[in-house]
């Protein structure tokens, strides 16, 4: 029932995009304008990621547009709720809206996989700040995003082994139980985690749909395998529900997760149970990698940056550079991205290989939840 009405709204939104009814495009013809889009979850359980990212886009665009440039850049937001099913309904509209010359996003791998056929057909270039599923840049995969898909973070092929290593740091004899959320991101990351775990340390694994509310069976398996570490590869709302039920059932071991869980919403949902949770993410927080920009961000936006803000600002600045150099079409933007060589917001090198991966992808950061906050500890090697 709900899905039907969501689809209805999504179709209406698609139609609005298709016919160019975009509220953020002013009528004035005096200033030449181009439009970029942000696609990610702006509502739903994963909305915090999308809100953090879209705010980072707005920050970069505000800094640019405040300089009264010859070509102003407008922003269209596309809410895919981080879900492939919703992305299927909004992507056609974005692809058909010729005003959009590039997309920051999509944020999530599943939504990217659903959107790609439309963006590939429309040759709409995209750079994701946070989609890490390896198949997106694997030319043998049906999800291969060439030529339009690019991304800044490193893939789950790097995140998985880092998570496997980071999760067991407190245990002398680790026994790991891996739970994924059945999403493309969750299952992909889980497979790399399992491959990377030392021989004999995998206690077992389970695959729980992302609307699971009762984890009793999974928790029983954790107990029956005597696992002392649970790794969850999914997103933060479900992670909080699982962790709360694990602790209520008396699980005393460590809880670890990937970048899908690294959000304040996870800590808010899990409360004190989140303390000590071990997280990894292929990102360096803006506050750590570029404190000066972070201070300016707080001044301009009135709040601290979030997860993947640095990557999102990097992508938006790349599009700004492209527009400054005269780019105003999708094909020109694609050429610009493919030939780009520059730096990210945290100072690492940025250029893309033929498959769309970042040649200078940052290392995987290790984090821990302490005092109700996610604290960056070190780069996981």
């Amino acid at each position: 029932m709900n899905k039907k009405i969501i689809s209805g709204f999504a179709i209406a939104a698609s139609a609005a995009l298709t016919f160019g009814v975009v509220a953020s495009v002013p009528a004035s013809a005096a200033v030449k304008e181009v439009t970029i889009a942000y696609q990610g979850p702006l509502t739903g359980d994963a909305a915090q990621t999308g809100i953090d990212e879209v705010n980072a886009v707005k920050y970069a665009l505000k800094k640019y547009n405040d300089t009264k440039p010859a070509v102003k850049i407008n922003l269209v937001t596309i809410d895919d709720q981080g879900a492939g099913a919703v992305a299927l309904t909004v992507a056609p509209g974005a692809a058909a809206n010729k005003k959009i010359i590039a997309i920051v996003g999509p944020a999530f791998s599943g939504a990217t996989i659903s959107s790609l056929p439309y963006y590939k057909a429309a040759r709409l270039p995209m750079i994701s700040p946070s989609a890490t599923n390896v198949t997106l840049t694997d030319k043998k995969s049906v999800n291969y995003g060439y030529p339009v898909f690019h991304r800044v973070p490193s893939t789950d092929a790097f995140q998985g082994p880092a998570l496997a290593k980071w999760a067991v740091q407190n245990q002398k004899s680790p026994k790991v139980y891996v739970v994924d959320d059945k999403s493309p991101y969750g299952t992909g990351l889980a497979s790399f985690v399992k491959k990377a775990l030392a021989s004999g340390t995998l206690g077992g694994s389970d695959s729980t749909p992302d609307d699971t509310k009762d984890f009793a069976a999974t928790i029983s398996k954790v107990k029956s395998t005597d696992s002392n570490v649970v790794i969850y590869t999914g997103y933060y709302a479900q992670a909080a529900i699982l962790l709360n039920q694990l602790r209520a059932a008396g699980f005393k071991g460590d809880f670890a997760a990937g970048d899908g869980v690294m959000s304040q919403s996870f800590i808010d949902g899990a409360g004190k149970n989140a303390e000590g949770a071990l997280l990894v993410a292929p990102t360096i927080p803006l506050s750590v990698g570029n404190p000066t920009m972070e201070a300016d961000y707080v001044k301009v936006m009135g709040a601290a940056s979030g997860e993947y803000s640095a990557e999102t600002i990097t992508i938006t600045n790349l599009f700004i550079e492209a527009v400054k150099s005269g780019v105003s079409t999708r094909s020109a933007m694609l050429n610009f991205i493919n030939g780009y060589k520059g730096l990210t917001a945290v100072g690492t090198k940025l250029s893309f290989d033929r498959n769309g991966d970042n040649n200078g992808a940052a290392a995987i950061g290790g984090f821990i939840v302490k005092g109700g906050k996610t604290v960056a500890i070190e780069v996981v090697k």
Binding site: G44, A47, I241
Partner: protein, 316 residues
């Protein structure tokens, strides 16, 4: 494959029964309305959602409960439990009454078309769900721990927790009260009379509209109680939570024999156990497949559900 089931059998069973009681109470909302009207109340899943939100709101905003707070004394805890349960039941009962007034009564009086009220109820369900979605921005809302998740004792290695125990015993008490009410009270006899033969009941002086409204309200009260118990055990609410739980409870009602409240009881408990055993044996990803294969097999051999043959005798 069976290691978890063998080693954690009692723990799984207790959790499965607690989940089963939540299904039982939601299934009451479906089965009572079907028993009287021969129609499904498709808004029942959203009535459940609203009941669950009522518990979350009362505990969080009326009693200032939070995840970090020290559990209150027994007397205050009892007061909070009663208030939350009452709020969920009243809100859901009232909502069910409104659904009957808006979606069913008006159309029942003006058309003999049996599809129109169903579509109307689906429409109301969507409206409720979308309003909640917009108000919560589709995010999961975490509820404070109303009933502490402390272990009362250990049985065969299984921790018997307070929250599950409250769900099982209070759920059982509510079922017995409802069953006795329908069997023994004057209003309950009216419900049964309409269920057996609407025209004869009317000729005997039974107020049809009153009986149907009462049926919806009773179903809503039970569904609202399920919302309270759900929040107790799982501590989270979301705008679309009713969809999957409502579908499961409807399945439970069909397994037991829809229209039969004892059937809904056994169907709910059986489904809770089958779900949790299936998850433990073949993996959580196979749970829906297993459950619906069992449902199809049951309906192949007993098209009216397990207790289908008793419908004429015990239908509400």
């Amino acid at each position: 494959m069976f290691d978890t089931l063998i080693h954690q059998f009692w723990s799984l069973t207790y959790s499965g029964i607690a989940l089963g009681f939540i299904y039982v109470l939601i299934a009451m909302g479906y089965t009572m309305v079907y028993g009287v009207l021969r129609m499904i109340n498709f808004a029942n899943s959203e009535i459940f959602t609203v009941g669950a939100f009522a518990t979350m709101i009362v505990s969080k905003y009326v009693f200032d409960f939070s995840a970090e707070m020290i559990p209150p004394s027994n007397a205050k805890l009892f007061l909070v439990i009663i208030c939350c349960l009452a709020a969920s039941m009243l809100v859901s009962g009232l909502l069910a009454f409104l659904v009957e007034l808006v979606a069913y009564r008006h159309l029942r009086n003006r058309t003999s078309n049996r599809i129109a009220p169903l579509i109307s109820a689906i429409g109301i369900g969507i409206v409720i769900s979308e309003v909640v979605r917009i108000l919560t921005r589709a995010r999961t809302q975490f509820s404070p721990n109303v009933v502490p998740k402390k272990a009362l004792f250990t049985f065969q290695g299984a921790e018997i927790r307070l929250d599950n125990t409250v769900t099982i015993f209070a759920g059982l008490a509510l079922f017995i009260i409802l069953e006795r009410f329908i069997k023994l009270s004057r209003l309950g006899k009216g419900i049964r009379a309409v269920s057996m033969d609407e025209d004869s009941a009317k000729l005997m002086g039974v107020n049809l509209n009153r009986v149907i409204s009462l049926t919806f309200i009773l179903g809503g009260l039970m569904t609202g109680a399920a919302g309270f118990f759900y929040v107790n055990v799982y501590e989270n609410v979301k705008y679309n939570m009713g969809f999957s739980l409502g579908l499961a409870a409807f399945t439970a009602a069909v397994i037991g024999g829809i229209g039969n409240i004892r059937g809904a009881f056994f169907g709910g408990i059986a489904l809770g156990l089958v779900e949790i055993y299936a998850s433990a044996i073949v993996g959580t990803q196979w749970k829906p497949v297993t459950v619906f294969i069992i449902l199809i097999l049951i309906l192949l051999f007993r098209p009216n559900g397990i207790f289908g043959e008793a419908i004429q005798k015990t239908r509400v």
